[in-house]
Point group: C2
Chain length 227, copies 2
């Protein structure tokens, strides 16, 4: 019962980023949060997010699963840390020189690249979880770029959210290969579908489809229209 309750009795669980990595007493730990998060990311990159079990991470670090709970308080914490760590790959942020739209497009490209490098990241994006320091820096960088845009902060946050969504959308299209199979289903009653499917696949579409989508959305969402 030595290390049971924290002093301040906040009912809501203390955010992982607030808690110190370790105290001042006791033997020096064999691992660190960073080690653990790096191991978890390596597993996720290789075998997907489902393969990131506490036991698997512990095994990769040659320790026991229970030991991880000396560094993290839950698997959700680990996922939060993973998301925040790969968010650091967005750095260095584009400088807001010249057109803000160009800078935001560079940011969007970087986002898509991160999502293509770590396909599991999009699965994390849809859990409502605590926001980390890297996400904080990312938001600030976006707001800095959009500083010259005459729109409300709310609109800018929404624009960031939509940009993120579009980046995920396009990243998934590339990683997942978009391979739906209409396997074994009767497409007979759907004439438009069979017409589209029998058409030759044609050349890949314009390369800047991603840029065009981002551009039109960002401009559209941030346009100041008379209410």
């Amino acid at each position: 019962m030595s290390d049971a309750a924290p002093k301040s009795g906040h009912s809501q669980r203390e955010s992982i980023w607030r808690r110190p990595e370790r105290g001042t007493r006791g033997p020096t730990p064999a691992h660190s949060r960073d080690d653990i998060v790096a191991a978890a990311i390596a597993i996720a990159d290789a075998d997907g997010l489902a393969a990131v079990s506490m036991r698997a991470v512990a095994t990769r670090l040659e320790t026991g699963a229970a030991s991880l709970y000396r560094y993290l308080s839950s698997r959700d914490d680990l996922l939060d840390l993973m998301a925040d760590r790969v968010a650091a790959e967005l750095r260095p942020y584009p400088e807001p020189e010249g057109d803000w739209l160009d800078a935001m497009l560079r940011m969007a490209r970087a986002q898509r690249a991160v999502h293509e490098r770590h396909p599991w990241l999009s699965e994390l994006s849809q859990r409502a979880s605590a926001i980390g320091p890297e996400a904080l820096a990312f938001f600030d960088a976006c707001l800095r770029i959009m500083a010259p845009v005459p729109a409300t902060p709310v609109a800018k946050f929404e624009a960031i959210g939509v940009m993120n969504g579009i980046s995920i959308l396009f990243a998934r299209k590339r990683t997942a290969g978009e391979g739906f199979t209409f396997a074994g289903l009767d497409v007979g009653p759907y004439p438009h579908l069979v017409a589209a499917l029998t058409q030759p696949p044609a050349a890949p579409p314009a390369t800047d489809l991603f840029e065009r989508a981002q551009r039109s959305l960002l401009c559209g969402l941030l346009a100041t229209d008379p209410a």
Copy 2:
């Protein structure tokens, strides 16, 4: 060992929609796929997708978990069936009368409504899984609407995918309440962030933000530009 192996030794698992619901012999089953899927959807609507365990679904149907495997071959099958079943709520499809863009916007609105009714649906959208008959009908309806648009089938499929993504994005914003908390993080070094956060929340943005986003994206993606 009576009901072990199917006759045709396909290595890839037979799609759930191909398999007949039941054979001709034996007692009449106490349930049906539809019962099970309805129960699962009710649980997901109430308590989220994570609460949809085989045991929970079985309990709701007052039976044992193992009994469900007489109707489904896995939980993934159940999830596929759930997704396809709520996709039926998109009906009746908008008629392609008048402007194709208006019809697609009606479709997008219907999608967003479905995602708001069933917030768990977006979690299913990102698993690469077998496509069902309702999804088939949905694709056909979209292609029918976009028939007058001079674009390649590939571009149209991508437009459908992006429309779907945007619908999810906006639906999530409404259901999740967008409540990130920057709780307990030091926002000191991020001046643009604090400036944006200290600003009064202001009025909710233009109501047709969703429509504008969809419109600009659909038009942008389907624009025939000289390659």
